[in-house]
């Protein structure tokens, strides 16, 4: 009888962060961050406002330079990339801003076409139109095609912001407070959308939030950021099964708020 050798699937690491430090003047925001993200994994970074969660993902996509530490994204050392190399890498990263950051002088269609037109010169207008309609359909907002961002609700703006990043077919999605400022129903819709994006486009994601429902719904793994360091990483249940008062109070506060 032949022996069947079971081989665990090797997870491909898409982001590796080691010993990351970042300060703004005397404000030491990140004090030695270590984080890994595997392909097709959703990692939620939880923490209070002002703890440097957004700073972390801005460093990952090269918008900010770290003071010290290693940031490897898809095998590239982000802080030491040249501008041209960084732009090439950014084509594989999608960044959903807390404020959505839609170009307010452009319609929804133009907002979606813009990154595609600027980065894929070889595409025909028919292909661009098709790509725009496809991502709008994916976020369920095909009817807003000719509307201006000012005419959209907060939830719609978030969805269009996500659609705009999806149009470049990124491998990694970075969500900055995707449910901030939204009502509970819309928040659930956005959480579902994040999961749908992961399944449909096979993206790996880092989700920055202080919303526990969002963390529980979207995260394969949760990393708790306190005082500039990750104090605990694991599944949602693992993180909140703890005696650490700081983590417990964060959970209790969210629970009472809800």
């Amino acid at each position: 009888m032949s022996t069947i050798h079971w081989k665990a699937p090797v997870k491909e690491r898409v982001i590796t962060i080691r010993g990351l430090y970042k300060s703004f003047g005397s404000n030491h925001v990140l004090r030695g961050i270590d984080l890994d993200l595997d392909r097709s994994e959703n990692v939620v970074v939880l923490g209070r406002s002002g703890t440097g969660k957004s700073v972390l993902i801005k460093i990952i996509c090269g918008l900010l330079k770290p003071d010290a530490g290693e940031v490897m994204v898809l095998g590239k050392d982000v802080p030491h990339l040249r501008e041209k190399e960084l732009r090439a890498l950014r084509l594989k990263l999608g960044f959903s801003f807390q404020s959505s950051a839609l170009y307010d002088s452009m319609t929804v269609r133009e907002n979606l076409e813009f990154p595609l037109v600027q980065n894929s010169k070889h595409l025909t207008s028919k292909q661009i139109k098709q790509a725009v309609e496809e991502v709008l359909d994916a976020v369920g907002l095909i009817q807003t095609l000719n509307q201006m961002p000012a005419e959209l609700s907060g939830g719609q703006r978030k969805r269009i912001g996500i659609a705009r990043t999806l149009i470049l077919q990124p491998e990694i999605m970075l969500y900055d407070e995707p449910t901030a400022g939204l009502d509970p129903i819309t928040s659930i819709e956005i959480n579902n959308l994040i999961n749908e994006v992961q399944q449909r486009y096979h993206t790996s994601s880092i989700i920055i939030t202080h919303d526990l429902t969002c963390a529980k719904t979207t995260g394969d793994r949760v990393a708790m950021l306190l005082d500039g360091k990750f104090v605990k990483q694991g599944s949602f249940e693992e993180v909140f099964t703890t005696e650490d008062e700081r983590i417990k109070s964060f959970y209790d506060y969210n629970f009472i708020q809800q």
Partner: protein, 265 residues
């Protein structure tokens, strides 16, 4: 004692910040020459900005230029009439318009209208993270937003300057014709007889430099806006004040240089 200590602590910091600001401003200008003339080019955006800067300023430029020419003629008439030299009005006005008034009036109007517009627009994009959104979409925001606006300002200011000169001379002609019954042909013959090649080139150089100044100052202020909506207002205001200040300094320098070329100060 504490106050003195604090003051002495603050002063070097302010001086350092001042020199840092100058360094950053020059780095911003140098970046324009690195970015604007290498592909990819955004021709459509340059044309769009030329339309915004040039065509949309026409109404204001027309009114201002016309009134400048008309008022300058009216104010100059009594002085020339004392010597019986009102026939020199076309020459006087044309020299004043082409050499000084047309470039300066156009630049000041555009600094107010276009400079504030660029400062506010880019400032608003900065504080609402739209510039960061461009950056993470692998688009060079400097190239797309700054280079195109600066190029459009630099291209449009000379055209607007000639238009201001023409409209100003028309204003002047209206007054001269009403008082001296001078024909249009005679007026313009006298007007252009006193302007030489150097006058045209000096004015074009002025307009190009002023246009570049308005575009780069507006963009710099907008690109470095912070503190939300207050920052947007400050960026717009600061863009106008700074560009006007620099334009006046440039005017003095260019006039000195052109006088030197003419053969004397």
């Amino acid at each position: 004692m504490n106050g003195i200590e604090n003051e002495s602590y603050r002063r070097p910091k302010k001086i350092t910040q001042f020199f840092l600001d100058i360094y950053l401003a020059f780095a911003f200008i140098i970046k324009f020459f690195k970015e604007a003339f290498v592909p990819p080019f955004h021709f459509k955006e340059v044309v769009k900005q030329c339309y915004n800067i040039g065509y949309k300023s026409l109404a204001l430029i027309t009114v201002t230029g016309f009134i400048t020419g008309l008022v300058f003629t009216k104010q100059s008439r009594p002085s020339l009439a004392e010597f019986g030299a009102t026939s020199w009005l076309p020459s006087l006005v044309s020299i004043a318009m082409i050499r000084a008034l047309a470039p300066l009036v156009t630049a000041l109007i555009c600094a107010g209208k276009v400079g504030s517009n660029i400062g506010a627009e880019l400032g608003s994009m900065k504080v609402t993270e739209q510039i960061d959104a461009m950056e993470v979409s692998a688009i060079n925001p400097y190239k797309f937003l700054v280079s195109t606006r600066v190029l459009a300002c630099t291209l449009m200011l000379p055209l607007l300057m000639f238009y201001t000169g023409f409209v100003g001379l028309m204003g002047s002609f209206l007054d001269v014709h009403a008082n001296e019954q001078t024909s249009m042909a005679t007026f313009f013959q006298n007007a252009f007889a006193s302007i030489n090649f150097l006058d045209y080139w000096t004015s074009i150089a002025k307009a190009v430099i002023y246009g570049f100044t308005i575009g780069i100052v507006g963009s710099y202020k907008g690109f470095n806006a912070s503190n939300g909506t207050t920052g947007v207002g400050s960026a717009a205001n600061s863009a106008v004040v700074t560009s006007m200040f620099i334009i006046f300094i440039e005017e003095i320098v260019i006039v000195q240089i052109s006088n030197y070329i003419r053969g004397g100060f």
